[in-house]
């Protein structure tokens, strides 16, 4: 009787694992399919790209990539993306870490409200503030500048960065920081030598998420840049022109735009999972 019970429990557990695995694979395939199709299409001719029914097997060509290389300066856009993403992430972290530190360790009765308020700014549709921001940028001469994009990206990502850093700091026992204070550490030493090393995993996720969000941001980059400061997202958009959609070329340029962040994400996926689950995975 006991044996039978144990066996059935084991079997049930195995069945659960199989079902859950199948489901996870299914979801992963659905999510990955558009990327797969994009990469596939980028190696088709424009005719093949349009074919109905869609073709899975075709003669691959690099024609799209050569044409893009001739028509636009990929590295100019890529460099803009790099500068803007890293710039706003660095500035964002420099603001988010002290803000989260004070919120996590010197909580007042208004801390929770402030955090919620910060998050609520993310609920506003960006297009709602497009006109005032555009006019502001125009008056300050920041249209089509990388600095302008850095500022706007920092502002839109700060709530998330502060929230994430706050969540990670909350996991750190206050006494350890107090011990550092008793040991003679100044505020900077306390943060730099105790707090940051203890939360480096979480902060790395925050950095990664910020980089990815900046890299993929399309609304503000399309509206506030033209060519000088335009990042890769703007480059993609330039291939959907009024003259018509060139699916194969659009796919090729998208592949080029996604590739760096995709590779980056692949190498840092462990950190990312932790970051996106807000510290739930340990």
């Amino acid at each position: 009787m006991l044996n039978f019970n144990m066996l059935s429990l084991k079997q049930r557990r195995r069945l659960n694992t199989v079902l859950l695995g199948t489901l996870a694979w299914g979801v992963a395939l659905v999510i990955f399919f558009p990327i797969f199709w994009m990469i596939l299409t980028s190696f088709k001719t424009e005719i093949d790209a349009f074919a109905t029914p869609p073709q899975l097997f075709f003669t691959p060509t690099l024609e799209n990539y050569t044409q893009i290389n001739e028509r636009s300066d990929y590295f100019h856009f890529a460099w803009n993306s790099v500068v803007v993403s890293f710039g706003s992430t660095i500035i964002g972290m420099m603001i988010a870490v002290p803000a989260a530190y004070s919120m996590a360790f010197f909580e007042t009765k208004r801390t929770k409200t402030t955090l919620l308020w910060m998050l609520s700014t993310k609920m506003l549709p960006p297009v709602g503030v497009l006109v005032p921001i555009y006019l502001l940028f125009k008056d300050m001469g920041m249209l089509d500048t990388r600095l302008g994009l850095v500022i706007i990206y920092t502002l839109i990502n700060l709530p998330i960065m502060v929230w994430m850093a706050y969540t990670y700091f909350k996991e750190i026992p206050k006494e350890v920081l107090e011990a550092a204070r008793m040991d003679g550490a100044s505020l900077l030493q306390e943060i730099w030598r105790v707090l940051l090393p203890m939360s480096k995993g979480g902060l790395a996720s925050t950095v990664l998420l910020s980089l990815i969000l900046c890299w993929n941001e399309a609304f503000w980059s399309l509206n506030l840049t033209a060519s000088k400061a335009a990042p890769l997202t703007a480059l993609i958009a330039s291939y959907s022109s009024p003259e018509g959609l060139f699916w194969a070329k659009l796919s090729a340029v998208s592949t080029l735009a996604c590739a760096p962040i995709l590779i980056f994400g692949w190498f840092s996926q462990k950190q990312l999972v932790r970051g996106l689950s807000f510290g739930a995975v340990k």
Binding site: V176, E178, A179, M182, D183, V194, M198
Partner: protein
């Protein structure tokens, strides 16, 4: 030198006053224990001394210098936390040398001091390990090591043994006592465990609801509590209390009629005591004797007897349903429900007035040397 003086210290969180005017002087080399029930403010007082809590008013002086507003880093105090609060990303060696590095000591000096502390605390084989690879007792020793390398003016301990199991707690208690002796340092120790207070302290400070109830040596507090709270808090098992009222008094003592039984004559001063006044008699377990029922005019029913081997603690219900704790020899053979006689050692009993304040004894026992 490390004299610590606290004057009229107050601390409030919003409308709640946690410390209600603390005055205390701690002398060099003293081992002072703050003891009291949960929420009495003892940890807050310690953290105020450390500088981890801002005080609302009052002053703290260390060697005559005011440190009330000074940052913790500048006070030259070391603290051992209940949760150990080790730096998880540093090895034991780094944990201990961190403060010295911050202070800018040379590598050789740091090495010497850390090695010495590790030797005292028997941590040498563990120096390259991380805190997560240590047991609770070892972590506690690292936390102590971290504070002794700095040779601070005062050591602060915030319930350092609470997270250890019973056997380890006794061992660490002995080690702390030895450490105090060896380092000859000033130590302030917070605990809710009155055994730790009694065994470690030169001076015990009993706190309740943000106020100091009594300050004195463990034996002074044990034998001459100033009020019913201190009397009931110190001692294991606790002192028993019997309500009664005063029926007469003269120069040799006060006559009290207990609710539970006969009249007794307690050798306390009759000053300020009036006939008919309600009082409470306090008597420790070791000052009651169990006799045959017909040998005493004070009776009770034996409830539970706890056999500890060396002693037996009997819980006796009086006729008026008060419970008395009685220490009897280890071979005590009474049974549940037995009617027994009780004899009180009145020389050692305490009498408290309606406010719970002790009425002064006539024959104050000399302090043990």
């Amino acid at each position: 030198m490390a004299d610590l003086t606290i004057t009229n210290l107050r601390k409030s969180y919003g409308d709640v006053e946690i410390l209600k005017g603390i005055n205390l002087a701690i002398k060099d080399h003293e081992f002072v224990v703050f003891v009291g029930p949960s929420g009495c403010g003892k940890s807050t007082l310690l953290r105020s001394i450390a500088g981890l809590e801002e005080v609302t008013s009052g002053e703290i002086f260390l060697d005559g210098k005011e440190i009330t507003e000074l940052a913790p880093a500048k006070r030259d105090l070391a603290m051992v936390f209940q949760s150990y609060a080790l730096y998880p990303h540093m090895t034991v060696r780094k944990n201990m040398s961190f403060a010295l590095e911050l202070a800018g000591d040379s590598k050789d000096v740091i090495n010497t001091k850390v090695t010495e502390a590790a030797r005292i605390l028997e941590l040498e084989p563990l120096l390259e390990r991380k805190p997560k690879d240590l047991s609770g007792g070892q972590r506690q020793r690292v936390a102590i090591g971290r504070s002794i390398v700095r040779n601070p003016k005062v050591f602060l301990f915030d319930e350092p043994l609470s997270n250890l199991d019973a056997a380890l707690r006794i061992q660490m208690r002995l080690e702390l006592a030895r450490l105090h002796h060896d380092l000859n340092a000033t130590m302030i120790y917070v605990t809710h465990d009155q055994v730790e207070a009694m065994t470690l302290a030169d001076k015990v400070v009993v706190l309740s609801q943000g106020q100091i109830e009594q300050v004195g040596s463990p034996m002074e507090l044990y034998h001459h509590p100033v009020n019913q709270f201190v009397a009931g808090f110190l001692g294991m098992p606790k002192m028993s209390f019997l309500p009664g009222k005063v029926v007469g008094s003269d120069a040799d003592g006060v006559d009290v009629e207990l609710m539970a039984g006969p009249g007794v004559r307690v050798p306390v001063t009759s000053e300020g005591v009036s006939i008919g006044q309600k009082v409470t008699l306090g008597v420790r377990p070791e000052h009651i004797r169990v006799t045959a029922a017909d040998e005493s005019d004070f009776h009770g029913i034996l409830d539970i007897a706890e056999h500890l081997g060396s002693d037996t603690f009997c819980y006796v219900k009086t006729d008026t349903k008060e419970t008395l704790t009685v220490r009897t020899p280890g071979d005590f053979s009474g049974a549940y429900g037995d009617r027994i006689g009780l004899s009180l050692d009145l020389q050692h009993c305490h009498l408290f007035d309606e406010q719970g304040m002790a009425i002064a004894k006539l024959n104050r026992a000399p302090e043990p040397a």
